[in-house]
């Protein structure tokens, strides 16, 4: 009874003294803190180790494994005094903002046409518009060289017609145009979901107040989706800074360099590994991209606040385009699809089945399967295809399992570890795939117990998991959060531990979402090319990175065949994703 007496005394105290201050906000009992902390801790280590190694390496005078390596700022001094670096930095900035200037207006327009008007073939267009997003930019870039490069199919046809080729894709403008067009889906995704979530009563209110439907679009719809446009713009600036495939294929032949290709070229420039210089450039990149990621996080929060205002009223009225409107709108989308999908994919398809091309070559005489036959005789190419399929199908499934564990560790987590998770997830988004691959390559060299794993697919898998982390985790968190908290609480009060609740209630309910996430992660892993550039070795080849290394040898026949295989695999993945009902529009 002593306790109750004490409590009574405390109650009396509480009445006399002012409101007592809370000791601390208590975590509910049995909330699996150990699992959460361990899972998030391992993730933090996996993300921070490569980043830490980059930072460390950037302050050394030589590669970290070299006995001569001492702490110094030499690498920084070299980069700061290298005019090529400044040129690359300037080009990258121009490239990133140029890409935004192309992608954002076009993506916004497409989103408007597809979500807000009565445009024909809506269902089909919704899927088609996303296609460029799923193809790796190295494949796209290669496709463009085949179709609209100086000796491309279309270029030659146009030259025959008017005497000159009116474009040059091996220029900064050409790179910007191509990158901009292929990033339209990224803008479309965010803006269209904002437009979809816009409650129709807001617009109806404006219409009843006397505004016509175009006026409403300008005065109500545009301001309401502005946060999503700004977000899409900042996302594209980020992607612009991280881009690698398009500058590598299109910029390199004419000596145009961006930061990522600058890192890539540093090795060939010196002939010896100049890790410290690569690390410094990677640091510069991250110092640019990290604030962008940070800004996006804030923007997204604001955008959500906007979206949270509305109800879910189904859209009653869509804009009537009329006959000529339909023709114009479909022409715009059709032209964009032609340029960003048909040209590159068509180019690659044709190129894969001929053994020579260019001036004076009659393609019909050169039709052949020899590109594919030849591939089967090269063990590294065969392994590349097998490894790519293993990594994307099995690795994708395993990655979804890992993201699920991390997602659960963060699921309704009220502890400090959730804040850690929030920030840890931001970091990989600021890292281009090339840098992630490079950093993990170093980690596997640096840590003795990990070294035996480096020449195995494990090293690639770990790097892929980190590259896909922010996208994959967002997919899973989006699925997990849809499980109503009461379904979990009712399992707890019925007698299930939190682990049992996850296993018996949460995971079965989210299972359809897991399948969709698997298909999408599979596509991400399929098209990945930059991450494997450094990590890949004999026995661990993957299609994307093989294409990068083949570019230097100029084995165009093989690249074309690989690119077509990559497209076919991606298409299969996409078909599977759609069949599993993946929420691409999230």
């Amino acid at each position: 009874m002593a306790t109750s007496h004490n409590s009574a005394a405390m109650l009396a105290d509480a009445a006399i003294v002012d409101v007592p201050v809370p000791p601390h906000t208590a975590r509910p009992a049995g909330d699996a803190p150990l699992f959460r902390n361990v899972a998030i801790g391992i993730l933090a280590l996996t993300v921070l180790a490569p980043v830490g190694l980059i930072v460390y390496q950037s302050f050394l005078s030589a590669p970290f494994f070299s006995p001569r390596a001492v702490l110094s700022l030499d690498a920084y001094a070299y980069i700061i005094n290298d005019p090529t670096f400044y040129k690359a930095l300037g080009t990258t900035t121009l490239f990133a903002f140029g890409m935004v200037a192309v992608a954002v207006p076009l993506g916004g327009l497409l989103a408007f046409l597809i979500t807000r008007t009565d445009i024909r073939f809506k269902r089909l267009l919704e899927v088609l518009v996303l296609v460029p997003m799923f193809i790796s930019s190295i494949v796209l870039a290669f496709g463009y060289t085949v179709s609209v490069g100086p000796t491309g199919f279309l270029s030659l046809a146009v030259r025959d017609l008017i005497g000159v080729v009116p474009w040059n894709i091996y220029s900064l403008a050409g790179m910007i145009a191509i990158a901009g067009l292929s990033h339209v889906p990224h803008v479309y995704l965010y803006v269209s979901s904002a437009m979809r979530n816009l409650p129709s009563d807001l617009e109806e209110a404006a219409r009843t107040a006397g505004a016509n439907i175009w006026r409403v679009s300008l005065d109500v719809t545009l301001p309401m989706v502005l946060p999503s446009l700004v977000f899409a713009a900042s996302l594209n600036v980020l992607l612009g800074f991280e881009t690698f495939g398009i500058p590598l294929v299109l910029g390199d032949p004419s000596g145009i360099m961006v930061l990522t290709t600058y890192i890539y070229k540093l090795t060939t420039l010196f002939g010896t590994p100049t890790y410290q210089l690569m690390a410094v450039v990677a640091m510069v990149l991250v110092l640019i991209t990290l604030p962008l990621v940070w800004m996006q996080r804030r923007l997204l929060r604001n955008a959500r606040r906007y979206a949270a205002l509305g109800g879910k009223g189904s859209r009653v009225s869509s804009l009537k385009l009329g006959h000529s409107g339909q023709v114009i709108a479909l022409s715009i989308i059709g032209l964009w699809l032609f340029v960003s999908v048909v040209l590159p994919i068509g180019g690659i398809t044709v190129r894969a089945f001929v053994d020579a091309w260019g001036e004076g070559v009659n393609l019909f005489e050169r039709l052949t399967f020899s590109n594919f036959h030849g591939m089967l005789e090269v063990p590294s190419l065969v392994r590349g295809m097998i490894n790519t399929i293993i990594l994307s199908v099995a690795g994708g499934a395993l990655a979804v399992g890992i993201y699920l564990l991390i997602g659960l560790a963060g699921h309704r987590n009220r502890g400090f570890s959730n804040t850690v998770l929030d920030y840890i997830v931001l970091l990989p988004r600021a890292l281009p795939g090339l840098v992630v691959g490079l950093a993990f390559f170093w980690v596997f060299l640096f840590v003795p117990v990990l070294t035996p794993l480096r020449p195995t697919l494990v090293s690639l898998f770990v790097a892929y998991v980190i590259v896909g982390l922010s996208y994959g985790l967002r997919l899973l968190q989006g699925t997990l959060i849809q499980v109503s908290p009461e379904l979990e609480e009712s399992a707890r009060t019925t007698g299930a531990t939190i682990g049992r609740t996850w296993w018996d209630i949460v995971i079965p309910i989210v299972r359809p979402g897991l399948a969709g996430a698997w298909a999408l992660i599979m596509i991400i892993f399929l098209r990945e090319y930059a991450t494997g550039v450094y990590l890949m070795g004999a026995g661990t080849e993957v299609i994307g990175s093989l294409m990068v290394s083949l570019l230097t040898t100029g084995a165009m026949n093989t690249i074309a065949a690989l690119a077509l295989i990559s497209i076919i695999l991606t298409a299969a993945g996409l078909a599977l994703a759609l069949r599993l009902g993946a929420r691409i529009h999230d």
């Binding site: 306790t3 109750s4 004490n6 409590s7 009574a8 405390m10 109650l11 509480a14 409101v19 007592p20 809370p22 000791p23 601390h24 906000t25 208590a26 975590r27 509910p28 009992a29 049995g30 909330d31 109503s484 009461e486 379904l487 609480e489 009712s490 399992a491 707890r492 009060t493 019925t494 007698g495 299930a496 531990t497 939190i498 049992r500 018996d504 209630i505 079965p508 309910i509």
Partner: protein, 359 residues
Amino acid sequence: MTELIVNNVQKWLGGLQILKGASFTAERGSIVALLGASGSGKTTLLRCIAGLEQPEIGRIVIGDKTVLDGERKIGLPPEQRNIGLVFQSYALWPHRNVRDNVGYGLKLRGMPQAEIASRVQAILDRLGLGHLAERYPSQLSGGQQQRVAICRALVYEPRVLLLDEPLSNLDAKLREEARYWIRKLILDLEICAILVTHDQSEALAAADNILLLQDGRIVQQGTPQDIYSNPNSFYSADFLGANNIVKGRIQKRSGRSTVIAGNGWSLNGTVREANGLGDSDEARAVIRVEQISVSDSPAPEGIEMHLDDSIYLGDKWEYRLSRGDFAAKAHGPRQMPSGKVWARIPAESVWVFAAAAPK
């Protein structure tokens, strides 16, 4: 037998204190209602008992197990408290059929398959759901879902059954039936039940004991009759029943009897303010609507008022009365012409409180 002891439970959310020391006990075979407006902390208190929220201070004992003790740093998770909780939304698991929903608690307790099957069937039959065992929650009506939720929370015989607004998702007719059979079921099974509700009629009809909460505190507790006819504060008086609120000043006072008066009227009343009232203090009176009887002929002890209108309510008529700045509602069996009427208001039904609740 006392099944639940809640002692000085205090809970903060950020810097805000939402429970300011709630204490009560509950017995086997009885229903305790936590009644209060939204934001009064009643659901938080229930969730603290369930272990879904962790109060910083306080002690909770369920059965013979201390499940929470702020001083000794004991805080058992929900699954170790042996409770059943029925959610407002029922929270039936959509991927399990009725049988698996109900049997889950038994499965967790390691009961053999055959016994689970027979126990589940027994409780489903008892609540008239025997034929629905194979259905999924989405194939059930709201009333059926509610009964499945109750089966699920009862089947493993928890020490305490917690009900969080269990009737609020049912339509009005179903609700009256449900509060009758839920009460009957709990008394038959002799379990201890805690019912959270914001609906006074639900609390009055279903509970043996009502705790009235305001702003994180239990302001009054007692039997339904006691709480309805013997309120100790303006909040309690006003929260229950249909009331007339009159503002005026204290004129005469002798012990508990007093006269409250305003512009052109005065009423004999009873002081119910805990700290008493002084002469010419501003005051409020609460008069239950059913305590006023109206007649169109002069009545002894009746106060003369003007009948502004009679409103037809189906089973009765509502009268809108006024005198000076005193306006009141009353009920009667027939329509009366507007004009002069006499209202009888017993002095013991005019509950006089201080004008503004002391902070």
